[in-house]
Symmetry: D5
Subunit: 93 residues, 10 copies
């Protein structure tokens, strides 16, 4: 079951550089693990912004929340979620 | 080159039913042709809305506009476009 | 799987009274049938508005969209959907 | 008398971890006590957000404000309140 | 129990003048009857707008909705409702 | 001459507790003095928010600004002002 | 007593040309009469819009509403009102 | 003196096709004449929308309004104007 | 050439009192100098807000930006600019 | 391929003056280098704001993001991107 998720990131300017570097490294590892597990099938950068558009493939809303709330950058994100379903004009199953 | 495109459709309630049916049929055919041509790689229904989230693959902005402005439902759509690019954490090329 | 759904209704002032009465009767029947089937566990009027807050219990996003897009008043509604999940502080299962 | 209440939580990033842990523990205890008392009949997590949708059952507006303003996290919340009433299509009393 | 209610009125420009005059006369009579009954203790015009700020005194949300949804101009209104309660700094009971 | 004034209060989380207590005490005293002087005829809490709806009775815009800008909490408030006048349907003078 | 008033005008595209011409002529006459009477000391066009920024000099909110609600174009206007007062840095009385 | 002007066009769906064609032909001629006169140095289509971003070069605000309000499509446009000036980092004069 | 300029001021609560006093004194002196020079013909306080509505008379957009960006409070302001021109109904030249 | 880019800059008031001066110097150098390279053909100040309207000429969305995300002031900017294409009424190629 797919969800379109937009994540906008905003860091406080006085965040400790080491904390920041650690957060970014953990975010990258977490994101790659989810992609490899198949729960994060698409991840695109929105050009010109520190933001992404993601497609999350979750069994249900609970797993969706689990995936998102465990993002290392979650406390610094503004997240928008839209549940998706098959479009009648789509040529895919 | 990918673009995230959200299309929201609003029909006037007094649109002639035949005009309406014809528009919807032509929209479906056009959408399928673009998908088969590879320019519309993803098309999802946003659940609960007469709206879709689409990923359009265009050579440039001109082709993007060409694809969107030729949609039979274009005059009834509110369209939002976000240019996308590869995300550094993406495991895809 | 639960979704919070807000439905705001707006009728064109020149809608034929018979069409209007028929729509409302079909909406009422449809809504009651979904409630009896267990897919629409909560339905509240938002005081002072021609609007409701509903909790929809659907198997997945596809069923959610199916329930909502078949509402007889769907063409006259502005719908907002928020996927819900269990809250860690909730005393319910 | 029911109210739909949306609570969005935002913590300053430099909040002392002990203060934070204490606040969260007290929030959990308070929330459970209200649920057991019957004044907070529904509490759902909004998936992907540090936010909840709650149904509060209060005798009047004064009790509603009393319940909400005593939330330990109240100073960190953005709260939206909508008074609810029975919907004519509801099959419940 | 008090509620602050803002009502903004918008008439279609092609509304039949007799229908319009009848609506306004019935609105005036209804509003005066509610004021005399004590359920509409304050009614002010917002200067420069076809809008009012009202204080409604209702037993509960159900009566509030009943009073508002029976306004003859209800179909032409955008209504905002805020539940009120006693302010700790108020010198009134 | 009446004005509807909405005051929303937001305190920085790291405000010194003594400064905060002093501000709140002075706000309470100031508010009561204005009420007793007749310039602040109504003061209601908006349920669920650290906000109030007030009716200010001022001789002119200058006095209105004087009353509001001297509020001890003024630097922490977002204020919205709407000039009011008699409504033609009002049964009061 | 001064008020800053922004008036935005929107005509339905199918308004009868004679009705339209009559409305515009009456608006012009009314506006000039108010200017000559001293109640409309400033009237500027907002460049690029069918809108104006006006300064209205009224004895009180009641007269302000009287001036605005009698505008022949009032039913086609979106009006925003801001009460003004002397600025402490102003070199004028 | 340059202004950034965004023009968004919305046609009523029941506009007479001949009226529509005539409007578009006159808009095109008018736009080209202004470009040739040097008052409309840049005109870009915003991809995916019936809208444009234009740079208008006018002697003053009066000429800017004159150019925009004489657009044949002006009654169907939502126009946003931003005055521009030289940027200190610009390598152009 | 006139511009309507709205300036909204927001100070950080922890600004050094001497810095603050110095900024306000310099703002007052600057504002008075511009008024005496004729470039700031109107300056009004918006009642109930730390904000003003100003009419700036500048030769062109460059001078407008020069006047505004040199305001001592410029870094703490949210500024909105609307270019003005003569209104056809105005009785002034 | 052109993009209209609006950049709004907001600095924290307590930014170290040396850090600030260094950022501004690097921003200026970067901006000039891009202009000389032809990727930033237009750069205008929006009058009255610490903001600019830029036209960026990039090969694709990836290069656009590369240019913008390497701006020294990027962490302090709110950026809006609109893809542009040739307008059918444009007299340029």
């Amino acid at each position: 079951m797919l969800f379109a998720v937009t994540m906008q990131i905003e860091f406080p300017h006085d965040l400790d550089p080491e904390v920041r570097a650690d957060l970014l490294a953990r975010e990258s590892a977490y994101s790659r693990a989810q992609q490899e597990a198949g729960t994060w099938p698409h991840l695109w950068r929105i050009a010109g912004q520190w933001a992404n558009l993601s497609i999350i493939d979750a069994e249900d809303n609970a797993q969706l929340h689990d995936i998102l709330s465990n993002l290392p950058l979650f406390p610094f994100m503004t997240i928008d979620v839209k549940p998706l379903t098959r479009h009648p004009n789509s040529i895919r199953n």
